[in-house]
């Protein structure tokens, strides 16, 4: 077994899903390969760290509220949840408020071109991470998908423009996209604030659903970091 095959079996080994023979060959290779040994150690480290996450604490009064509400909702056939409605209202503001931008280093021509892989005819989320050094209001956002790529919910729209605010720090923009042909192309995201603007180009590569990109590279397809500090 070589490094490539060992890497292929790494997750199955961690999950104890290999048959005896394959596990034996895997272990033999790992014992004599420092790189694979290191990858295995990091895999274990992640699993251990996930298991060691602290327990989220449930509000002591939640149970009483929740059971009472469940019974009431059944009786009244409707849900009254003021706090939730307020959160929904707040989330609308947040949805508008987030976006892309940064305080310094703006200007036309500044392009960032990370790459993302999407599968043909399958809705996929492409996530862009942007960093802003300050809260910004009245920011204009513009998205322009390439031919053959559509934003789910905005099919046949070649340009989507909206205004909103930006929060200080990292902002996550989730784009549900679907590739209609294999060509791919550049998705343009532009942010304007006052006289400043910045353009980003995300290279979208399309692959067949039955030929997924190797797992190790999938990071690019789900999270495309565009950090500007």
């Amino acid at each position: 077994m070589d490094c490539r095959i060992t890497n292929h079996y790494m997750e199955d080994y961690l999950d104890d899903m290999l048959d005896d023979a394959t596990r034996g060959r895997f272990q033999e290779h790992v014992e004599r390969c420092p790189d694979c040994r290191n990858r295995l150690a990091r895999g274990r480290e992640l699993k251990n760290a996930l298991n060691a996450l602290p327990e989220p604490i449930l509000d002591p009064d939640f149970a009483a509220r929740a059971f009472k509400h469940a019974a009431a909702a059944h009786t009244w056939r409707r849900r009254i949840d003021t706090s939730k409605m307020m959160r929904i209202a707040a989330s609308i503001l947040v949805i508008v408020a987030l976006g892309i931008v940064l305080k310094g280093g703006w200007g036309p021509g500044q392009l960032e071109s990370p790459k993302a892989f999407v599968q043909l005819n399958q809705p996929e989320d492409v996530q862009l991470v942007f960093y802003s050094e300050e809260n910004l209001e009245n920011v204009t956002f513009r998205l322009e998908p390439p031919d053959g790529i559509e934003l789910v919910g905005f099919e046949n729209q070649r340009e989507i423009v909206w205004q909103g605010n930006l929060a200080r720090g990292d902002n996550l923009l989730v784009l549900p996209v679907i590739a209609r042909n294999r060509e791919g192309g550049s998705l343009v995201a532009e942010i304007r604030h006052g006289s400043r603007n910045k353009q980003f180009r995300l290279q979208l590569k399309v692959q067949q659903a039955d030929h997924p990109h190797p797992g190790a590279d999938r990071f690019d397809s789900s999270v495309a970091p565009m950090r500007f500090i």
């Binding site: 997750e11 199955d12 999950d15 899903m17 990091r42 895999g43 480290e45 992640l46 699993k47 760290a49 996930l50 298991n51 060691a52 996450l53 602290p54 327990e55 989220p56 604490i57 449930l58 509000d59 939640f62 149970a63 929740a66 059971f67 509400h69 469940a70 019974a71 909702a73 059944h74 849900r79 939730k84 947040v94 949805i95 408020a97 987030l98 976006g99 996530q127 991470v129 934003l151 919910g153 905005f154 989507i160 929060a167 200080r168 720090g169 990292d170 902002n171 996550l172 923009l173 989730v174 784009l175 549900p176 997924p212 797992g215 190790a216 999938r218 990071f219 789900s222 999270v223 970091p225």
Partner: protein, 184 residues
């Protein structure tokens, strides 16, 4: 159950599910990444189950059954959100007013008391919240709650190959994020 009066029905329902609440909240919290959405998800679950009290009574092993309903509810909620205009822009937790870490007991402000373990946990929480819902869900149920993939195949009615693919890709993404910020 139909012979119970309303108070008895409520009491019986609560008696069945109250012992599961902390566990349901933990999974919901991992699914959604924040306290408010986790509470809403558990609340939605209780509302959904209340009319199905008779069915609950007949379930021999409650937890797997609850996981299945919770997971479907989580997906339904996510799909509803997806239908809203440009499901864009969700601030990453470290800048969010609803920072999930605010739920954990505060540590000593002295930096020396701010242990490596806690920092690691915070970063992993943040990285988890950057995963897509499918990856977050499978990592929660498999890596954190200990369900085997073969169990989840039945519970979630998702093919084993798809589950494995999501799990491997989710972990790979997590590692990339954590390597990028220097955690790993």
């Amino acid at each position: 159950m139909k012979d119970f009066n309303q108070d008895q029905v409520e009491t019986h329902f609560e008696k069945l599910l109250r012992p599961q609440l902390t566990w349901l909240y933990r999974i919901s919290y991992r699914f959604t990444g924040n306290k408010a959405d986790a509470e809403d998800l558990v609340q939605d679950l209780l509302v959904k189950l209340y009319p199905r009290r008779d069915e609950l009574d007949s379930v021999a092993n409650l937890r797997p059954w609850l996981v299945r309903v919770l997971y479907r509810l989580f997906l339904d909620n996510e799909r509803r959100q997806k239908r809203s205009p440009l499901r864009l822009l969700k601030r990453r937790p470290k800048d969010d007013a609803e920072d999930p870490l605010e739920q954990f007991p505060a540590s000593d402000p002295d930096p020396e008391q701010y242990t490596g373990g806690r920092i690691l946990s915070e970063r992993i929480e943040q990285a988890l919240n950057m995963l897509c819902r499918d990856h977050r869900a499978i990592i929660t149920l498999h890596d954190m709650e200990g369900y085997r993939l073969s169990e989840l195949e039945t519970l979630l009615e998702v093919p084993l190959g798809t589950l494995k693919s999501r799990l491997h890709r989710g972990r790979a993404t997590l590692r990339k994020i954590l390597e990028k910020d220097g955690t790993f």
